[in-house]
């Protein structure tokens, strides 16, 4: 992992790399999603859940991504705090709305799946509640960032919040598990092999990789946009001084 970020810490190199990497990840995401969705569509219906089992292919990867993106954001925030690196800060800033999007997707698809399976759109179950808390932390991060006018200070305050959230997320997860559990435990990756039949396992994995690539692509695009915005602001400032 280390050499890649070290290589990319130079903004020029990052821009040159992301220029072709962003569309490439996008193309990979589309290809994987097409295959995954086709396999998911042609998978047999579950003997208990019927056709609604297909929600799994959209739901599980989104739930994984909601946590994965937070981890990316927390690492980027740590790097931004320690090294005061602009790219790391731009990366943390760019990841937040994407992570919130995946979290909303996971909650929405889970809710639509819950109606036929559990008979209700929402239950105050441990996993649902901890994902909701994750969404609240994303919202707090974006709100904090948006409401401090001084950009550098806002960035550092948001980075501290991202780390506070990273410390708290496992505790929140643990606390709600202790509180109430209806959602099934881990099924795909677990000791003794996956509980999913291969016809359900492979579409889910392919779509997870597709989500991951889509995130990579969108993340790079958003970081690029953020760098362009900062360059434009710096140029406007220079023009105003001249």
């Amino acid at each position: 992992m280390l050499p890649a970020p070290a290589f990319l810490t130079n903004p020029e190199r990052f821009m040159a790399f992301s220029r072709w990497a962003a569309p490439m990840f996008g193309a990979i995401a589309v290809a994987l999603a097409v295959v995954g969705l086709y396999l998911g569509w042609t998978a047999p219906e579950d003997y208990q859940q019927g056709a609604t089992v297909r929600i799994l292919f959209i739901h599980i990867p989104a739930a994984w991504m909601s946590e994965f993106v937070y981890a990316c954001m927390a690492v980027a925030s740590l790097l931004a705090l320690v090294f005061r690196h602009v790219l790391a800060d731009a990366a943390a800033q760019a990841a937040a709305p994407l992570g919130a999007g995946f979290t909303v997707l996971a909650l929405a698809t889970g809710s639509l799946w819950g109606r036929p399976m559990w008979g209700t759109y929402w239950v105050w179950d441990a996993r649902l509640t901890s994902v909701l808390a994750l969404l609240l932390i994303y919202v707090a991060y974006m709100a904090l960032r948006a409401s401090i006018d001084d950009e550098t200070k806002g960035a550092r305050a948001a980075a501290i919040l991202a780390l506070v959230g990273a410390v708290n997320l496992p505790i929140i997860h643990y606390s709600v598990t202790w509180w109430n559990t209806l959602h099934q435990g881990p099924s795909v990756f677990r000791a003794g092999g996956s509980a999913l039949a291969p016809v359900f396992y492979w579409p889910a994995i392919l779509l997870a990789l597709a989500y991951m690539s889509a995130f990579g692509s969108l993340w790079l695009v958003r970081i690029r946009g953020e760098i362009w915005r900062r360059r434009a602001e710096a140029a406007a400032l220079r023009a105003a001084r001249a």
Partner: protein, 221 residues
């Protein structure tokens, strides 16, 4: 040590006198406890079932109220700059500020909590546990709340932002305290939740000041 004593006396006096002090928080708490039966209905059986939990969540909300002035006033008038320059580490100063906040609002709220819970229909024998949960939970609320207050320094609409930041962090203590109270009310073993609440409070007291000091230094820089 005398420096810290002076600081604690100052913070507690400020928190106590600041815009009504504990009266505002306790008044808000009483107001929420009054609105609950109006919204849910006055049947004693239904109220008694939710009484400890309702009193507990109202306490969490009431402890949010005075947070926005915890660092804001010292930040605006420059006292925070002086505190940051003093030989006392800023981490310790932040911890003392939260302690003062707890003494001035958390402890009075904890005294009001059993009264509110019993008014809503909780049994009398819950009083010691409610008081203990409110005292220890108040410590957790003050120290996690301080993180939100320090982070939103210099932000527009700081008070509202503090609440948005802090509410997700209140999830574990609300669950642990509510779980202990519900277990006690149901005649089940309750120490588990209570011990976890105390553990969360201890972690907040130990780690919260680090985040608060980092946030204050950032706002002052």
């Amino acid at each position: 040590m005398s420096r810290l004593g002076t600081l604690l006396a100052r913070e507690t006096a400020l928190a106590w006198g600041r815009g009504g002090g504990p009266l505002v928080s306790v008044g808000f708490y009483a107001g929420v406890a009054t609105l609950l039966p109006l919204a849910i209905g006055p049947e004693p059986a239904r109220l008694a079932a939710i009484a400890p939990g309702a009193a507990w969540v109202a306490l969490a909300l009431a402890s949010l109220l005075s947070l926005d002035r915890l660092f804001e006033r010292d930040f605006e008038d420059g006292a925070l700059d002086h505190l940051a320059l003093s030989p006392v580490p800023l981490e310790l100063t932040c911890a003392v500020k939260c302690l003062g906040q707890w003494l001035a609002t958390g402890a009075p709220l904890a005294l009001a909590a059993p009264i509110a819970a019993i008014g809503l229909g909780a049994k009398l024998d819950m009083t010691p546990l409610i008081l203990a949960c409110a005292l220890i939970g108040g410590l957790a609320f003050a120290f996690t709340g301080g993180i939100g207050a320090a982070l939103s320094l210099g932000a527009r609409r700081g008070g509202l932002l503090t609440a948005v930041i802090v509410l997700p962090l209140f999830v574990p203590p609300v669950i642990f305290g509510g779980g202990a109270l519900a277990a006690f009310a149901g005649g089940l073993p309750w120490p588990g939740g209570f011990i976890l609440l105390a553990a969360y409070a201890a972690a907040a007291v130990a780690l919260g000041p680090l985040a608060m000091a980092a946030a204050c230094r950032n706002a002052l820089s």
